[in-house]
Amino acid sequence: MPLKILDYVRPKTLERAYELLQKEGAEILGGTTYARLSNRTIKLAIDLQDVGISDIYEEDGYIVIGAMARLANMQFHDLIMKYADGYLYSAISYVWSVQLRNIATVGGTIVPKWGFSDFITAVLALPSEVEFYKAGRMKLEDFLENPTPKKDIMTKLLIKKEPRKASFKFMRNSVYDFSIVNAAVSAKEEDGKLTGWRVVVGARPGVAALSRRAMEILNDGYDESHIEEAINAMKEELKFADDFRWSGEYRREVAGALLRNAIGEVIG
């Protein structure tokens, strides 16, 4: 049985949307692309297209992306195209197809914590936060590592605007497919040095995660021996698992290779 929606509403304000969401069986609609593949019944589907959380702008040193912005809106926005040499523009361009990126929303991708997501991996490699209507602002990694705020609405993704170099890598069976494993790295450029390293591996096949040990090692130095040590630390620290595509062990090895390439690109 396909997805069944009993009732649909399009509130005009976030406040009203939040009120409606508290009803039993009420759910927020994201881009509705993935919902298509489920066979659930949603008693009340809440569409956020009119509540004013689709804009992308700069505020207090952050690039703010409304949760209802489409992935394509974000990809082609000037702020994103210019950030870190077009790093996110390029990473998003590998997410499925043009037609899908025009539908899928930023919130609809982040909130479900999709394990296969390239988008989450790419964004997590940047210092970023998410904001919820009631739960407020939190670091993206804290959101991903903790239970999702219940019956709440993601309103914004915030990416800290600072000089960063970043690289996103993936391995797929074919280019038009999900990544079997992906990795992203970024570092802040400060007085000719690279600091504040962030190291992410996703599609493990679990959702993207930071390797804090690898980050610590790279913050200490990024010569060949530190890089080697950081890759080994990532392999030890992060969990990899089998699925019908690849084994966890193979993913772990490939993740190491992707990480090496990504670090190399960041160092330049």
Partner: protein, 153 residues
């Protein structure tokens, strides 16, 4: 529930169920260029323009389209006559099942190239059209036709 949409330039009001996806509604209303291929957001045969941008009608809830503008292959057929001729000249029309969805994408791609959002070269064109699958051809006939139509050297 009722929705009002501007379809191929004309406002229409349709009675739909909140569970309906746009693809189902369009086919029910007679827009048969919109094809159901994979029905899982992959093959691109159901591509239509929503507010001018290509989107998968199999993956959009019809209810969310209230007040929006939708364009199907029927709505751009006149403008795309040269493209269809180019496709036929390369023998790339084949069974035709994927042709309307691909035509909508090529139409959108032409606009993106004109707006400077997509580069006019082989690689960029192939990347743009990655979400349109064809099960009869090896894509080469289509590619030749598309490159000719867009003037990709």
């Amino acid at each position: 529930m009722k929705i009002k949409v501007k379809i191929n330039g004309e406002w229409k009001e349709w009675e739909i169920d909140p569970s309906d996806y746009l693809l189902d509604v369009l086919r029910r209303e007679g827009y048969l260029s919109v094809k159901r291929g994979c029905d899982t957001g992959t093959c691109g045969t159901c591509t239509v323009l929503v507010d001018g941008f290509p989107a998968l009608s199999c993956s959009i809830l019809a209810a969310t389209m209230d007040g929006h503008e939708i364009t199907t292959a029927e709505g751009i057929a006149d403008e795309m006559e040269d493209y269809m001729k180019a496709l036929a000249a390369e023998g790339a029309d084949q069974c035709g099942f994927c042709s309307p969805g691909l035509m909508v994408m090529v139409y959108a791609l032409k606009k993106e190239i004109e707006n400077g959002k997509v580069e006019k070269n082989e690689e960029a064109v192939k990347r743009y059209l990655i979400g349109n699958l064809c099960r009869c051809s090896g894509y080469l006939g289509q590619q030749r036709a598309i490159f000719k139509f867009l003037g990709v050297k």
